[in-house]
């Protein structure tokens, strides 16, 4: 009986070894570099379907030698899975990151391939907006290609504004009046909430730093020529804290920490809030809450007005939402670069995507003829506004180094609830930023005068 058992065990081991061997036989397929792999974070089924049909399938139809194979990942876990895989020397050929600040660790670890020769060969400098391309450089090497770009904006319902006799404020005084009138009307003046996305505080900080302290001050501080404890920044943070205390922003701290994105859109549609401070990514979903059936309200957007005398016109705060890069461990860098180049050479496809599903396009050098006829004029006008911007601002998740960026929103939450003073918050930021600046971790930034 026992020898029989032993024989059975050996047989199992032999089968296991055979299966392992067979599994190994399939591995070289990917290693030969014939298929270019990507893991793409997605936020909706519609996005996945659109990307697969209009980008992946469309590319593969004309490039059968190095077809692209995309594995769609949940937005919340894609970055972690990819980090673990790349750290193990594996991972997809084309690497996604949530912006230049997030990608720095990959660059520093030598996990990304410099793309200078492809940029030169394919003329990417003439195709991508200069400020956006600049964020992809580290020590003269181009590693990151911006895949989406975004800005902060103020979403509102024109019908609500008209019914209350409001117009979009153009300065701090007008805005303060608007805030008071909103509250008098029983509405939250600045709807926002971080229940769905914990770092939402960085969206608000991006607005107040640029619109209260001013893009020039932010640029100088990011360049290490100015302290984060200077009065402009104290003013910016104090302003934000004041709005939370008066419940003008997010309905106060308790509501802020428990309000979801869905509730925020609804608050504009149902007149419980007069504006919703969000980003251009709002275009992905806003239509769901404002059906164009002629029955309900409509939506529109505006830039947040200048909020201090230091700022003369509304700054267009810009940033990169996602970047793509080539894995240094790829067996087929030319194939990966070819797909990226195909994306860059197709501005019409980028804007068609934005028109169809609201997802931001690559920051390419668009001209009027690139915009599809069916694009929502409100969406088109946003990207035109960014292109025409005379003064740009800086979104924190693109231009701040990683630790400072996390400090910005996590510690600001403590300021909001009163656990940390504005002065201590900024002193902590100043110390941490100085450390990361010395380590060369601050991403490159364009001049505010664009």
């Amino acid at each position: 009986m026992k020898p029989k058992l032993a024989a059975s065990g050996l047989k199992s081991a032999a089968i296991t070894a055979l299966l392992t061997l067979l599994a190994g036989c399939t591995a070289p397929m990917a290693d030969q570099g014939e298929v270019i792999t990507m893991w793409r974070p997605i936020t909706s089924d519609a996005e996945q379907t659109y990307i697969q049909e209009n980008f992946v399938d469309a590319y593969n139809a004309t490039n059968p030698v190095n077809p692209v194979e995309v594995s769609y990942r949940d937005w919340n876990t894609a970055a972690q899975l990819q980090q673990a895989s790349v750290a193990a020397g594996e991972g997809p050929d084309i690497i996604y990151t949530a912006g230049p600040s997030n990608a720095l660790a990959y660059i520093q670890a030598g996990q990304l391939l410099p793309l200078n020769k492809y940029a030169e060969e394919f003329g990417w400098n003439d195709k991508i907006q200069p400020w956006a391309l600049e964020t992809g450089y580290s020590e003269a090497n181009l590693y990151l290609i911006p895949e989406t770009y975004e800005t902060m904006l103020m979403l509102y319902s024109p019908e609500t504004f008209e019914a209350n006799g409001w117009s979009v404020a153009s300065n701090r005084s007008d805005f303060d009046t608007f805030v008071q009138q909103s509250q008098d009307a029983g509405m939250t003046a600045i709807a926002t909430g971080n229940k769905s996305w914990a770092p939402t505080t960085e969206h608000l900080l991006s607005v107040v730093l640029n619109n209260v302290a001013g893009p020039e001050a932010v640029y100088e501080a990011l360049s290490g020529n100015k302290s984060w404890t200077d009065p402009e920044f104290v003013d910016a943070i104090t302003t934000m804290k004041g709005w939370f205390d008066s419940k003008a922003m997010g309905g106060g701290s308790e509501m802020y920490f428990s309000t979801t994105v869905e509730e925020l859109y609804n608050s504009i549609a149902t007149d419980t809030a007069s504006t919703y401070w969000t980003g251009s990514w709002a275009f992905n979903n806003v239509g769901e809450y404002f059906p164009e059936d002629g029955q309900g309200k409509s939506w529109d957007w505006s830039l947040v007005p200048p909020l201090s005398d230091r700022v003369s016109e509304p700054p267009v705060s810009i940033g990169i939402g996602r970047t793509i890069a080539v894995n240094a461990a790829t067996k087929n860098p030319d194939g990966a670069a070819a797909y990226i180049n195909w994306l860059i050479q197709n501005p019409k496809a980028q804007l068609a995507k934005t028109a169809a599903i609201g997802v931001a396009p690559m920051p390419l050098m668009f001209d009027a003829a690139d915009f599809p006829a069916d694009i929502d004029p409100r969406v088109a006008s946003l990207y035109q506004t960014i292109a025409d911007a005379k003064t740009i601002g800086y979104l924190t998740w693109t231009f701040w180094p990683p630790k400072s960026n996390r400090y910005l929103y996590e510690e600001m939450d403590k300021v909001i609830v009163g656990d940390l003073s504005v002065e201590d918050y900024l002193a902590g930021l100043d110390a941490l930023f100085a450390q990361e600046l010395a380590e060369g971790l601050v991403p490159p930034r364009p001049n505010p005068s664009n």
Partner: protein, 288 residues
């Protein structure tokens, strides 16, 4: 012959030992190594000695997180354990309705954590949940997850709702195995229901209680899912525990080396708890 049997035994154990070695032992050892390095999670780790541990000792956020883990442990040692013991005893005494109640109490345990946490988040919503129904909509509506003083307890309540039914089932099974003659003897001595629970049932199922208490302490220091889903460690870090802190350090701040040292700390705490249990067992001569 006996040696051959031992060899065969080891042969059959080999796959399991290999798997354990690869997925438990090696990662554990590499985690300890990484805790002595500065590592972003990508590229080569840089050896920095005990710097991460010095930072752990000085990091107020870590101290606060440990404190919350302790509060969580205390809550879970008292509330669900107490509820489960009491519930199991009642179910045992009502055989007719027992099956129904066991099913009702155990059902939450088979619900996915993500679903359960999401439903509870909705219930706690100050605009859509139970609060506006019970207390009316408005600025004064209780906002349990938005308030730093109540958020941790609100999350704990959600987790208890799912967890206590499982404990009850385990206690119920243990109570069923208590020798009926002990109850008969107690009755002859004039013991009532409460006295029988205290003097017969609880001592008889003490090994089960101790084991679940031990596991409760260990699990409480590993808590991550409910807190991450329901509050993300907020508001303003008021529900941050070691598990969420480790995750954020590794993936948000890209301080995987520091995150590894938090992981080692969590492991040491678990070992400490197991050590206390083993020491108590030896001193009090428990069989389990």
């Amino acid at each position: 012959m006996q040696k051959k049997q031992i060899r065969i035994g080891w042969f059959y154990l080999l796959p399991l030992l290999t798997v354990n070695g690869v997925v438990v032992f090696l990662p554990a050892v590499s985690n300890v190594f990484l805790s002595f390095t500065s590592w972003s999670g990508l590229g080569q780790p840089k050896w920095i000695g005990i710097d991460n541990y010095i930072r752990l000792l000085q990091d107020d956020v870590v101290h606060q997180a440990i404190l919350r883990n302790l509060v969580w442990t205390l809550i879970f040692l008292i509330v669900p354990m107490g509820l489960a013991l009491f519930g199991a005893y009642l179910v045992l005494r009502a055989p007719a309705a027992g099956t129904f109640f066991r099913l009702v109490f155990f059902t939450p345990y088979i619900v996915s954590t993500v679903v359960s946490a999401s439903v509870w988040s909705f219930l706690y919503s100050p605009t859509l949940g139970l609060s506006p129904l019970l207390f009316g909509a408005g600025a004064d509506t209780p906002n349990l997850l938005g308030n730093g003083d109540t958020a941790l307890y609100a999350v704990a309540l959600a987790n208890i709702w799912q967890w206590w039914g499982f404990l009850m089932m385990v206690f119920f099974a243990a109570m069923q195995s208590v020798n009926p003659s002990l109850y008969e003897a107690a009755e002859l001595d004039g013991a009532g229901a409460f006295r029988k629970l205290i003097s017969v049932t609880l001592p008889a199922i003490r090994p089960t209680i101790m084991f679940l208490a031990l596991m409760t302490v260990i699990w409480s220091f590993l808590i991550f899912d409910y807190i991450f889903i329901m509050t993300g460690g907020g508001p303003a870090g008021k529900t941050e525990v070691l598990g969420t802190l480790l995750y954020k350090s590794a993936f948000w701040s890209r301080e995987a080396g520091y995150a590894a040292s938090i992981g080692v700390l969590m492991g040491l705490i678990s070992l400490f708890v197991v050590g206390i249990y083993l020491s108590l067992r030896k001193r009090l001569k428990w069989e389990i």
